[in-house]
Symmetry: C2
Subunit: 415 residues, 2 copies
């Protein structure tokens, strides 16, 4: 029986993780949950999973949660009330909870970085769904992994596909799990991209793209922010940077291929030219389950893939003009140091501004590029955690200020 901690239990990754725990009650039990503000759902989760510890990002909600637990009618109250913690220290304590075998890090954004680091420092196995951990803090995280022996198991579908295919390669388990260590027989990887909401739009038409257009993803059901990242292809750019750190690959070993059906989740090319791919319906539950069951696999009743039903799989090159964020991510990744943290933060803020309809869709890459450009003079090539957190907040502010001041218009019109 594997003991699981779920960071961000009320989010998309968190709820799917708990669904899996319910599907396999003999395999998994929940020992720790952390959440943001959704107390109603968290309360249900506590009743169902009876964790040993619960932590809330917002310290002020701790008492409210305690009250609501105590107000539950006796028959619905957990047998043993969990320890309830709050704030950064509380999240970190829950994330490094002693009884956990695996920590699923489903907290979105930079908020997930500190608890994920706490889990890594405590030597836990990590089901990594928080991209910032490696994208923003790769140079900080890699030595911590080495120090603690924590193992990163990728929970997003593309990196999970690579990870699943790598199991079949002749290099030792150690090489596969030593994040950032190059694998001598791995020639390249091919990350597949659906092409997002605008895959059939012309570059010209993108000028009129609305929030509704951008958040209407054809294949995957995801949060609004990630759906916009999918429309700009920044999601793929960020995955390229993450793959660089996870698999110890040079950027020219990582390719993006547009594959609108999202059936092949990614591929690896081996030294002898053989290509291995992992396929499935677009559903996050499979990669999450694989993190949880690895190195084994569990029997599921989930819908079986039928390529006869799918009929055809198509592939083409991403249009670099239409998707400037993709190239931006490659350049930023090659610069390294604090630059990917700036890219990630500037992107988060720019997408937020777009979702609030304060900027236009095509301004997203412009704002990110300008912010990265401004960071060049302050680049740290081997940053520590404080420096990463500093540039993260600097980049968000820089984007926000530019939009508030109307300067983004200048950037945009000047292009």
């Amino acid at each position: 029986m594997k003991a699981i901690s779920v960071l961000g239990s009320t989010g998309s990754i968190g709820t799917q993780t708990l669904e899996i725990v319910e599907e396999f009650p003999d395999q998994f039990r929940v020992v720790a949950l952390t959440a943001g503000r959704n107390l109603t759902l968290l309360l249900e989760q506590i009743q169902k999973h009876q964790p040993e510890v619960v932590a809330l990002a917002d310290e002020e909600l701790v008492n409210e949660l305690r009250d609501r637990l105590n107000e539950l009618p006796l028959e619905r109250r957990p047998n043993k009330l969990p320890k309830i913690l709050g704030g950064t220290d509380g999240l970190n304590e829950a994330a490094s909870w002693d009884h956990a075998d695996l920590v699923v890090t489903g907290i979105v954004g930079c908020a997930g970085l500190l608890p994920t680091l706490a889990a890594i420092r405590s030597g836990k196995d990590i089901a990594l769904a928080n991209k910032e951990t490696l994208i923003a803090a790769g140079p900080v995280v890699l030595p911590e992994l080495k120090r603690s022996g924590s193992r990163l198991l990728p929970a997003d579908s593309e990196h999970s596909a690579i990870f699943q295919c790598l199991q079949g390669t002749p290099w030792a388990e150690n090489a596969r799990l030593s994040t950032g260590v190059p694998n001598p027989g791995l020639r390249s990887i091919h990350l597949t991209a659906s092409g997002g909401a605008f895959r059939d739009w012309s570059t010209e038409d993108l000028k009129n793209a609305t929030v509704t257009d951008a958040t209407n993803h054809p294949n995957w059901s995801m949060g609004r922010k990630i759906t916009v990242d999918s429309a700009t292809l920044m999601n793929k750019g960020l995955e390229v940077i993450e793959a660089h750190y996870l698999f110890g690959l040079d950027y020219d070993q990582i390719e993006i291929v547009i594959h609108p059906q999202s059936i092949i989740h990614s591929m690896i090319e081996l030294a002898d030219s053989s290509v291995l791919a992992q396929l499935g319906w677009p559903d996050m539950k499979l990669p999450i389950l694989y993190c949880m069951s690895w190195p084994s696999r569990l029997e599921t009743p989930w819908k079986r893939l039928s390529l006869k039903e799918v009929g055809q799989l198509t592939f083409n090159s991403p249009d670099t003009e239409k998707y400037p964020c993709m190239q931006l991510a490659y350049s930023v990744g090659r610069v390294g140091g604090t630059m990917p943290a700036v890219l990630n933060a500037a992107n988060e803020e720019a997408v937020a501004q777009f979702l609030e309809e304060k900027i236009h869709f095509l301004e997203i890459p412009k704002l990110i590029e300008a912010t990265c450009e401004n960071h060049k003079k302050d680049l740290k090539s081997q940053p520590n955690l404080e420096e990463v957190l500093f540039v993260d907040s600097w980049a968000r502010n820089a984007v926000r200020e530019k939009v508030d001041s109307g300067l983004n218009r200048v950037v945009f019109l000047g292009s």
Copy 2:
């Protein structure tokens, strides 16, 4: 440095194996060659690879080969002349040659069975390209493998794809290499089929199919017999039976999917619903090399797969009416015992008759079906080698006699 024996060195698998040896002179050396009648090519191979032993199927050619070797000008004569053997005993001695690490069994047809068995009995690793070994003699071979510890590495592209994908599964190496032992986490396999020369023909048009039509394969460059098997889809039916023995699968765990581009070489579906596939250009050299380098992989300069260049992969269900041989193979496989040997032999003979233009393309399945039907009363469920060889020759004769007597016309017209 791995020592390789090549059975059938002048055939398609044999020559490709020797090309690989030439490409990797630091990795492989040739210790034994066996061939049929092509002395000129064999002589070249002896000069180039300097094997320790050479065996000829036809004993009468032994002296001719010896003479031709002795007649070579001194500078082209091998440093040390190989031992030259002939006939069945000679083939068996070469196949179980002590210095070999791996025996590549490239002899086509039932002629390859005895030397392959000799190699298995001597405990060698086998790169299996001779399908009769398992299809006709599965019940004989499985216990021999267990006894000697010989390991079967599949050299044809579909089974190699399955084998490559299985490397990534969580079951021990032993389970993967214990031919015939079920793998508890393997839910199903999907063998891809190009659809052969007639994939775009209607069932009606097949009535007019000529030898030229049938031997014109769209993707793979193969011998004429195998190209006809590809047109009838019997090749896939035979692969289904082979996969049953190789991977310990029930017949309802083995699916055929038509995939005209021949880029996905086959797939496995795991217990959790994840699907792994192996991809590459259609080229036999990669699966042969994998047998030779397994469990490692070697760096090749071969053309890299580009799905962007391929553009699309399509999939559909095989048309059972158009390809009766496929269903026939499933039924025969389920019967087991000596029945698959009859299917295989009847097919070889029927295809030979077709290639000699003595029968019509659509008579191939009819003749095979009738022969299998006639065998029912004599079926042995746990045959020994002699019984397998007996039914093999019985089935060939049965087809030949039926064609010679014109009875096949009755079968055909009666349908």
